[in-house]
Symmetry: C3
Subunit: 109 residues, 3 copies
C-alpha cells in the first residue's frame, strides 16, 4: 500500500557544467542521499563571471541539473561539500521545501 | 490581460521509468489535471531495491519526470492512483507549493 | 569559501512553445535576472485552448522550460512582461519559494 501521508523533505537542485556531474553524484552518495535524477544537456546563461570566462556560444554553455530529495539535516553537508567546486567553477544550488509519500525511500540506512 | 495576482497551487513531480510514463499521464487525465510537461530521458539512481533489481548501467536507468500543477484537492487522488504502480515498480512523487498567474488554466471544467 | 547561510529567493519556471524561448530569455535579461537554465524539447499537454488550436500529436507539442531564480521584487516585472506572449500564445509561469547559498549571484548589479 502507498500511504497517503506526505512527509516534509528538502528538494535540492544543483546546476553545474556537465563535466562536474560526477563530482556532484559522488558527493550525494557520500553524504547519504538515497537517489538522484540528472537532467542532461540543459543550456544556461550566468552573470558575468558566473561561468568564469571559459564561455562558449555567447555566454551559453552546456550544463546539467542534478535533482535530489533529502532530509533537512543532509542539506548542510551537501552545501559544504560543494564548496571546493563552487570556489573554482560555476554552479548554483537551490533548496526547496517538498513533501514525499514514501519517506523511507529518502533516508539512508 | 495577464493578471499580476498569483494563486496558490500544488506542483507535482513524478519520477518513473520511461515505460510507465503513459500510466502517469492517463492518471493525470483521469483525475482532472489540465496539463502536464514531460522531461524525457533523464537518468537516475535510486537506493537498493528502489529500482527493483532490473538495474542497468551501474544502477543508473532511464527515467522521465512528469511535471504538473493542480489545485490542492487533486493531490490525494493522484497519490492514491500511483499506488498500483509504486507497489510494483520504482518511482517517486514530490509535492511543492507553487503560485500561478492564471488559475483558470489549472482547474478542470 | 562557500557560506552555509541560505537566502530566500523566488524560483520561476516558465513553460512555453520552443519558438518563444528567445522572448523569455530576452525578457529575463531585460528585467535583470542574472542567469537562467533552459530544458529543451520537453513535451507537454495543455487543456483545450491552452495551445491555441495548432495542436500536433494528439494535443502534445514541443515545449521548453526556462528556469530562473530572482529576488522577490523581480517576479512582478517578469509576470507583466509575459503578458503580450500569454495573451496570444500558450504558456504558463510557476513561482516557488527557494533558498540559495550565494545570494550575490542572483542580484543584478
Amino acid at each position: 500500500m502507498v500511504s497517503l501521508t506526505l512527509h516534509p523533505m528538502k528538494e535540492i537542485k544543483i546546476v553545474v557544467q556537465g563535466e562536474h556531474a560526477k563530482f556532484i553524484t559522488d558527493l550525494l552518495d557520500r553524504v547519504g542521499a538515497t537517489g538522484y535524477t540528472i537532467i542532461n544537456n540543459v543550456s544556461g546563461k550566468g552573470q558575468h563571471g558566473f561561468h568564469e570566462g571559459h564561455l562558449l556560444f555567447n555566454d551559453i554553455s552546456s550544463q546539467v541539473i542534478v535533482f535530489t530529495v533529502v532530509p533537512e539535516e543532509r542539506v548542510e553537508p551537501i552545501l559544504a561539500g560543494l564548496g571546493p567546486l563552487f570556489n573554482k567553477h560555476s554552479g548554483a544550488m537551490f533548496v526547496t521545501d517538498v513533501a514525499v509519500s514514501r519517506r523511507e525511500h529518502f533516508v539512508a540506512k
